[in-house]
Point group: none
Chain length 402, copies 2
């Protein structure tokens, strides 16, 4: 296990106190050049500011300064897992993202339906973004094949995206992608990156070849591209480490899947922030740790839509009183990474965080923003330390040593 | 050896400059809910504030954010030792805490006198908390036995608590406790946790059996329970690492014992802060590093006595001019952990620290307090870095690399 988690595992105790971890995806931003204010500084967030005034604040680095995290490492860090040694493969993420029940030993890969011309060269990597219905129909055609005693399970994700899971003894996921990530060339063959992976490479190439035949008549979706082969990770669960009964509330499948991989229970919820809050209230008695995920901020940032990100932040602010009304013992408001609208992408900038509890020792920060949190009592620190701090503030950790 | 200490060992040089490390035990606190001010913020500390104004300040984490340290890891971090890999066993701590002179190879264990019924089942793990006098009298009955060429030394601690030290060649402390930590059951037998520990397990079980016979007539203290078998740690000494001639001044035995384990000389002193200052003055010429320990702050915090902790802090402030009058080249005022009166216990909150020297590059902090130190030039940092900083400011470290 990861060393820091070993200490936590030793000193964690179960108790009735409750921790709410509100993750605002892509929370951090960059100043609008016209106003000099970030999205969070522009948004009217009286409730977050008031909470910040009674909290201890800081800025987190999910991995380390300068490193831009993907969604998975960004979240793993928030849950206390070292995001570098606990990296999760793309295929696995995509599989859990559609609520696919992965077994230990499974190898999962992401896939695209794509269009190839008569010479077999890729003309559209996304097959014109076929409909969800079409995707599901075509996946059914490919699903359930048995190739060299390996069964291949194929599931639709959305539009042109699919997941393929290879299930059979002793598969090693160290193989290259078939997706060349460009048009005008043929799909690449899947190559074993270590001798142990020969078997999977062989099966994958046969699968791709058969898919080409099966899909020939289904132009524009007449081929598949595979990438991100990966195996089910073997991490300790949240309850093993923290003695927590933890629940995840997330509208987006990826975040539910990630939470499931580390042993959280996934609570069924709807598509909106209000749905998520309702789910939290319904299940509040049953758990002592809640991961509540807000996706809209990240999506707006990725779209470069500064104003929409501001609006989503204001919406999050508006639900805060309801969350606080439940009287959780510890409230953490954090982000998995920054997604500045200016960059239209995840970024490396540290993320504002606030931690509220009766015992948090508040600092002088009275506003929840990037610039105010610089002066916070938590300083600038690795995001992996959020969970130990939340646990301590919930009085769920005994002391280390005599 | 610990990696960071290896570098220090390489570049440390002996010099006449003097370092004073003033450790205010349990220094950090939490705001009084009525005033919003911590103990340190409430105390009138003009001398500490003036010193802070000329110093560089910060906040330290003894282990890492969220982790509450015991006294031993808290102090080891202050002395530059990694508090996790240098953890010290319970039995050893208890032994050094009563000024017992442990030899290399000794195995020490904590013990309780307890009460067992006629069937041998434990009815009171603490034997009704017998008096110190009774404890001393019974320890004498058990002390000095020779079992299989191992001599067993038994010393009273307080009330029902004792220390047993097993002295004889090649004892390995990897054995389980005999204390089941509950009543209604019989004491457990001591089991070897590795084959090498067979000898110690055998001796310990014979010792317990004989103790039962010896104590039969001394109900309620008619049996002993042992726990926390541990050996004398093999850390490099302060002089090996830092080239320092170091002295410890501490009214409480535990802190003297801890200092002795890492090779400090222990200066005989009295029970009060004034006694400790007097001892420092008497021996000031003879050493170049002084660890001066103030216990009252921690005790008051543990008792939940906010006002008393404030008073002890003011008392510490009042002796500061005398300490500075000795003109040490480097003065560090630090704590081993926080002990907020609000929590009545050690806590995870970072601890204010100031470092004064002619070369410290002062920051803008003009008040020695939790909230002011957030803005200090040292930032928030691991307590293990205090000693390298003190050594550097005393010009006792040469440069690393060409």
């Amino acid at each position: 296990m990861i060393k820091s988690l070993e200490i936590i595992k030793e000193i964690a105790i179960a108790s009735p106190s409750k921790i709410l971890l509100l993750v605002i995806d892509g929370l951090g931003g960059l100043p609008n050049p016209e106003t000099g204010k970030t999205e969070l500084e522009t948004a009217r967030t009286p409730n977050l500011d008031k909470l910040a005034a009674g909290s201890i604040c800081g800025l987190t680095d999910p991995i380390s300064p300068g490193i831009t995290p993907g969604s998975a490492p960004g979240h793993l860090a928030l849950f206390g897992y070292d995001p570098v040694s606990c990296n999760i493969g793309r295929g696995v993420l995509e599989a859990v993202g559609i609520d696919f029940e992965l077994l230990s030993g499974d190898v999962a890969t992401r896939g695209n339906f794509c269009t190839v011309d008569e010479k077999g060269l890729i003309t559209d990597r996304r097959a014109g973004r076929i409909s969800n219905e079409k995707c599901a129909e075509l996946c059914q055609l490919l699903d359930g094949q048995m190739i060299d005693k390996v069964s291949v399970l194929v599931r639709p994700v959305r539009e042109h995206r699919l997941v393929a899971v290879f299930r059979g003894g002793g598969l090693v996921p160290e193989v290259s992608d078939s997706d060349p990530q460009q048009t005008g060339v043929a799909p690449k063959s899947v190559n074993a990156l270590s001798p142990k992976a020969d078997r999977l490479a062989g099966v994958a190439n046969k699968f791709v070849a058969q898919a080409g035949e099966t899909l020939a008549a289904h132009r524009p979706a007449n081929m598949v591209l595979l990438r991100g082969f990966s195996g089910h990770p073997q991490f300790p669960t949240m309850s093993e480490i923290y003695q927590l009964k933890s629940a995840a509330i997330a509208s987006y499948p990826m975040y539910r899947g990630l939470a499931k991989l580390i042993g959280m229970e996934i609570l069924k919820t709807g598509a909106t922030i209000e749905d998520e809050v309702k789910t939290l209230k319904q299940h509040y008695a049953g758990y002592d740790f809640f991961f509540l995920h807000i996706k809209g901020t990240d999506s707006a940032g990725e779209d470069g839509d500064f104003a929409r990100k501001v609006k989503v932040l204001e919406q999050v602010d508006s639900i805060l009183p309801e969350l606080l009304g439940l009287k959780p013992d510890v409230v953490v408001v954090a982000g998995d990474h920054s997604t500045p609208a200016l960059l239209k992408a995840h970024s490396w900038h540290p993320i504002p965080v606030l931690l509220y509890s009766r015992y948090c020792r508040p600092d002088r920060v009275t506003e929840f923003s990037e610039s105010a949190c610089i002066s916070g009592g938590l300083g600038r620190f690795p995001a992996t330390q959020i969970m130990p701090l939340a646990m301590a503030n919930a009085l769920k950790l005994t002391k280390f040593g005599a």
